[in-house]
């Protein structure tokens, strides 16, 4: 809502600049910006066209002699609606238009032109707010004006506005009167309102108004007879276009004007089309609205009807049935109190949000409900020249009961954290027009109807602190009982995993949870039922993710498309798994994707590409850093779709699958446009559930260890992991460590076989180990390997 300074002056006089007012209102109530409509416009005056001739070299231009006050000047004008004896806007030589456009005299097709005759839009009025008749041409004043006089005041372009960006609770400032209260309270100035004065006495008109809907809280109307629907006066029109409302005809202009002034939406109908009114739920039918849109009514819409004809959707818009036109003779103006939520849904349902629905939705000042009709009559008497006006025809009396809120001075002060006296608090309420009854500590505050956002003590607290000024509030910290802050144990665990990957050189990615169908199917390893949105916006973000890997692979592709080939990313977020309940389980995963080189070729280094074992190492180190109380194993698997069947391992903890590590399937890599990429994922929630291993320190060994090397020739498909497991099973209590130091296939090795070399370390922590003891264990190991794996000891 834009508050015109000029209009506001009718209620309160403020000396402060518009910028100061906007700033102050922002700090005490509603976010505001100053608006200077005609800023920088200059040398724009009224011109009177005294002579007009066709341009000799143009089929549409005219040469006009224009009286601009002290002199007459020649202007060439191409507007189709230019005519003799018009009073028009003239931009003189040197005039400035919006955006710094300068008007200079010159010649148009050989004819001298000493300025420009302008349209309203050329002065910065939005085209949609310019009266229809001037859309394709210049603006023409309805009445004679003084040539040479500046047009800025006449057209409302010298006005300054405070533009209030109101929150849903402050509908009271959607009328000039309410806004004047708000701005006045800020400056401790009470607004002064003059109530409408009507001449003559109303005519008694019988009209049956049958209110059948409980969503209509109040309904009254006046009828004006034998009106002349012409154009409204310029003073009214300029206030309307400055309010972003297009002036149309005088009836609708008056209705809009009163809506802006009182905040009460007013609907006008052609009374001759009406025989009794009925307000009820609509039947499902199609109607054409006054703006030409077709609407299919819902039974939840409340409509105003006459007989079988729908006149309007309550609080939103009239239909074209009883629409007011130039030919309307008798007019009915409706001033109603409709249920805000109902109007809001109507407007939403039919995509018809407008000034009227917006006001009902946010709540109107119901105390002005009847007064607004008097104001309509008052304005109409001057503008529409009716023969008679009716009494208020009341369909339903609005039952207004004032809201009274109790509070105590102590509570108000303690909730804010200040110490105001009772008088200071009462004074603030008084500035807002709230009446206070004081009983010692206790306050009973009655709020006016316009402030329908006020209902509880906390609302009063807000009024006190905002008018008192937040800038005067001194910050403190809560002084209650001490509390111990911290992360949850789970979160500490998550952080630990994250630090491990960061320290191993992986960058952290953050990705979206809502993915395409394909993406949630690509790595749905647990085959969870997919969860999708009821109303997705795009197919790209339709389903809840089942894995972090598809997004990571996308990230790799994004980077590699930009020639960043070495990518090591991890992501630690949630995936969604549909369980037994409606709500999907949210499970934290930590996943990674690595592609490109571990070491780039450089002046002293050979290139080293990432491989399975490198990524496996990262995963192992992360798990080791997590210090889990579980036995972790890697098992070969070829079951995971989109992973390489020969380069993938399931990761298990105490036999339970907790994740995997592997290379992307070559076909998937091609599809996703990535180079060789290795991925892993681990279920963080499952890992966390295992708990930590208790660490019991033991001194560093005092006795020397003894080592043995073991070289084996085995069939190619025998897994080293199985051999190591067997070595440990048979190595006796002194076997400390087994490392593989050689894997070889090729020359000198039989096809289908490989050679493996292991380094075994034996240690007795409490005594010197003897060769005999070691030899005995070593023999047992060898025997078992020969028996179980048919190895050849070399």
């Amino acid at each position: 809502m834009k508050i015109s300074r000029n209009w506001l002056n009718e209620y309160i006089q403020l000396n402060q600049s518009t910028a100061d007012i906007a700033n102050k209102i922002s700090l005490t109530g509603i976010e505001s910006m100053p608006v200077y409509i005609g800023k920088d416009l200059s040398n724009l005056v009224v011109g009177h066209i005294t002579k007009i001739e066709d341009h000799p070299d143009s089929d549409h231009m005219h040469i006009c002699q224009v009286d601009v006050g002290e002199k007459e000047i020649q202007i060439v004008c191409g507007a189709p609606n230019v005519a003799l004896d018009q009073y028009v806007i003239v931009a003189l030589d040197g005039a400035t238009l919006p955006d710094g456009v300068k008007i200079k005299k010159g010649k148009l097709r050989g004819e001298e032109s000493n300025g420009m005759i302008c349209g309203l839009d050329e002065l910065g009025v939005k085209v949609k707010n310019v009266p229809e008749e001037f859309h394709n041409g210049i603006y023409v004043f309805d009445e004679a004006q003084k040539p040479g006089e500046s047009v800025l005041d006449l057209l409302g372009l010298s006005d300054e506005m405070v533009d209030l960006d109101i929150t849903p609770n402050r509908g009271d400032t959607l009328g000039m009167r309410g806004a004047a209260w708000e701005i006045g309270a800020t400056y401790d100035e009470k607004p002064n309102f003059v109530d409408p004065k009507l001449s003559g006495s109303p005519k008694n008109i019988d009209l049956d108004i049958d209110v059948q809907s409980d969503k209509v809280n109040g309904y009254q109307a006046v009828v004006l007879e034998d009106v002349k629907v012409g154009k409204s006066p310029l003073w009214m029109q300029r206030r309307l276009w400055n309010q972003d409302i297009q002036p149309t005809n005088a009836v609708l202009d008056i209705a809009n004007y009163v809506m802006i002034e009182y905040g009460q939406p007013i609907q006008a109908y052609d009374y001759d089309k009406i025989a009794g009114l009925k307000l009820q739920n609509a039947e499902t039918q199609e109607v054409i609205m006054s703006d030409g849109t077709e609407v299919k009514l819902s039974s939840e819409d409340i409509v105003v009807m006459s007989g079988e004809d729908v006149l309007s959707i309550a609080g939103v818009l009239d239909t074209d049935f009883a629409k007011v036109t130039e030919d309307t003779k008798n007019v009915l103006f409706e001033s109603a109190v409709f249920d805000g939520a109902t109007v809001r849904k109507e407007a939403q349902r039919h995509d018809l949000r407008n000034n009227s629905s917006n006001r009902f939705e946010k709540g109107i000042d119901t105390s002005l409900n009847g007064l607004a009709l008097d104001r309509i009559v008052e304005l109409s008497e001057d503008i529409l020249n009716p023969s008679d006006y009716s009494q208020h025809i009341v369909g339903k009396e609005y039952n207004y009961s004032p809201t009274t809120i109790s509070a105590t001075v102590t509570r108000i002060n303690s909730l804010i954290g200040i110490e105001l006296t009772t008088d200071e608090i009462i004074n603030i309420f008084d500035r807002l027009g709230f009446a206070t009854i004081v009983d010692g500590e206790n306050l009973k505050v009655t709020v006016p109807a316009r402030r329908n956002d006020m209902s509880i003590e906390a609302d009063l607290v807000e009024e006190v602190i905002r008018i008192y000024g937040y800038e005067n509030l001194v910050g403190t910290l809560p002084t209650g009982k001490q509390t111990k802050g911290g992360y949850t144990d789970k979160r500490e665990f998550s952080n630990r995993l994250r630090y491990s990957l960061l320290s191993q050189g992986m960058d952290e990615a953050v990705n979206f949870s809502l993915l395409s169908k394909k993406e949630v199917e690509d790595f749905n390893v647990n085959e969870t039922k997919l969860v999708h949105l009821l109303h997705p916006m795009t197919e790209d973000h339709e389903y809840l993710r089942t894995s972090l890997i598809p997004s990571l692979v996308k990230n790799v592709a994004y980077n590699q498309a930009r020639k960043e080939f070495n990518v090591r990313l991890f992501d630690q977020e949630r995936i969604f798994e549909k369980g037994h309940s409606d709500r999907p389980n949210e499970i934290e995963y930590i996943s990674g994707a690595i592609s490109g080189n571990i070491v780039d070729k450089s002046w002293n280094q050979k290139e080293q590409k990432v491989d399975f074992y490198y990524v496996k190492g990262i995963v192992e180190e992360m798990i080791s850093y997590a210090n889990l109380d579980a036995n972790i194993e890697f098992e070969a698997t070829s079951d995971i779709e989109n992973l390489h069947p020969g380069q993938t391992a399931k990761i298990t903890a105490n036999g339970k699958m907790i994740g995997f590590v592997g290379k992307l399937h070559p076909q998937y890599q091609d599809e996703m446009n990535v180079n060789d990429t290795y991925v892993f994922e681990l279920n963080v929630d499952q890992l966390f559930a295992f708990g930590s291993k208790v660490i019991q320190s033991q001194p560093a060994p005092k006795y020397p260890s003894i080592s043995r090397d073991l070289a084996l020739l085995v069939k190619k498909d025998i897994l080293s992991g199985d051999i190591i497991k067997d070595i440990f099973n048979n190595g006796g209590k002194y076997l400390e460590d087994v490392e593989i130091f050689d894997v070889y296939q090729g020359d000198n090795i039989e096809r289908g076989y490989k050679s493996l070399g292991y380094h075994l370390v034996f240690l007795n922590r409490s005594d010197t180990l003897t060769d005999e003891e070691v030899e005995q264990s070593f023999d047992q190991i060898k025997d078992s390997l020969v028996t179980k794996f048919a190895v050849e000891i070399r």
Binding site: I416, R466, Y470, G485, G486, H541, R583
Partner: protein, 350 residues
């Protein structure tokens, strides 16, 4: 002067000369063995001592020892010279161009959003707050109704919502955790002080300033005598922690259904210090978060007696914080994971 004396002096002069001529430690060692060994000329010469007179003997003895010492010193000196030369040679040989590029080591970079959130979390942990991140799929009941946003409330229009069913939705705000935190807290054990960071979702088209998924961090304190002044002090401290010691904050009235009074919080511009610049749009202030005193209805819905308890809540956007602080102009940059974007924030927040 005896012949023996002359002989010793000659041995000394010749020995030292020979020592000085040696260029390898091995040769020097040979000279040492030759000169000072049991079969060496000095030992040999001293055997002739038995033929000397009693007065001469100590004199020659002293001389012989001196000669031995001198030779020894000469050997040590030469040995050191040879060693020094060797070391020098080695150093010269091993000298490299230290300006050649290093062998790269890499510590990964934490996502700037994680860094921003962790920084704020740690600040609040130090003030005694717990961290609890809640559900991303939430019930309409907790996301809206428990926050005093009933079915027909206009505030629902402000947040277009992704629904999964009538009752379930992708949470639109981390405030959704308030109801759960309030009902789970045992107030007999002291105040509730909690922050809830996490992901939220809105039905928005993605563009430079909107994202259908983004982060929020909600804070909630409920205790006896919690006031607006406590909220201001807390947020002042937060803004000073995040944006710099000199920062001031200001409150402007606003509206949120779950707080009353509600405020928008501005921080004095960290770029220009409040004088006005492009970042603060020449106002000197930057809007950074929304806050307020907990609405009595919100507390009462969790069975909290608002005659005894009051609280404050605030919500901030880590994306917005990071965008302001680092001049990031496109919110989509957080989610494309271009490593060149990610890695520029290495160690951004200490």
């Amino acid at each position: 002067m005896t012949t023996l004396e002359e002989r010793l002096k000659m041995l000394r002069d010749e020995g030292i000369k020979s020592i000085r001529e040696q260029n390898h430690s091995k040769d020097l060692n040979e000279v040492r063995v030759n000169l000072l060994g049991k079969k060496g000329p000095i030992t040999e010469a001293l055997r002739g001592m038995k033929d000397l007179s009693a007065e001469e003997r100590p004199k020659i003895g002293t001389l012989a020892n001196a000669v031995r010492d001198e030779i020894q010193s000469a050997i040590e000196l030469r040995s050191k010279e040879l060693n020094d030369a060797l070391i020098k040679q080695k150093l010269e040989k091993e000298t490299i161009d230290v300006t050649l590029p290093s062998q790269p080591q890499k510590v990964g970079t934490e996502h700037i959003l994680t860094q921003t959130i962790s920084d704020i979390e740690e600040f609040f942990i130090s003030l005694g707050y717990k961290v609890d991140s809640g559900f991303e799929v939430e019930e309409d009941y907790y996301n809206f109704e428990r926050l005093n946003i009933p079915q027909d409330h206009p505030a629902r229009d402000m947040q277009d919502t992704f629904y999964l069913s009538d009752k379930l939705l992708m949470r639109t705000q981390t405030s959704a955790q308030e109801g759960r935190d309030l009902e789970n807290h045992d107030f007999s054990k002291g105040p509730l002080k909690v922050i809830s960071p996490g992901v939220v979702y809105r039905r928005d088209d993605d563009d430079a300033t909107h994202s259908h998924q983004f982060h929020q961090l909600e804070g909630l304190v409920v205790d006896k005598n919690i006031s607006m002044a406590d909220l201001k002090g807390t947020l002042e401290a937060l803004c000073q922690h995040v944006f710099g010691k000199e920062r001031e904050i200001r409150f402007r009235p606003s509206y949120f259904p779950f707080t009353e009074p509600s405020v928008e919080v501005d921080v004095s511009c960290f770029n220009c210090g409040g004088e006005g610049c492009r970042i603060c749009k020449y106002t000197g202030w930057i809007e950074v978060l929304g806050a307020g005193l907990s609405h009595p209805k919100v507390l009462e819905m969790s069975g909290i007696d608002t005659n005894i308890y009051s609280g404050f809540a605030f919500g901030l956007g880590p994306e917005r914080f990071a965008m302001l602080k680092y001049g990031i102009t496109d919110i989509r940059d957080f989610y494309t994971n271009d490593v060149r974007f990610l890695e520029q924030f290495k160690g951004a927040i200490r």
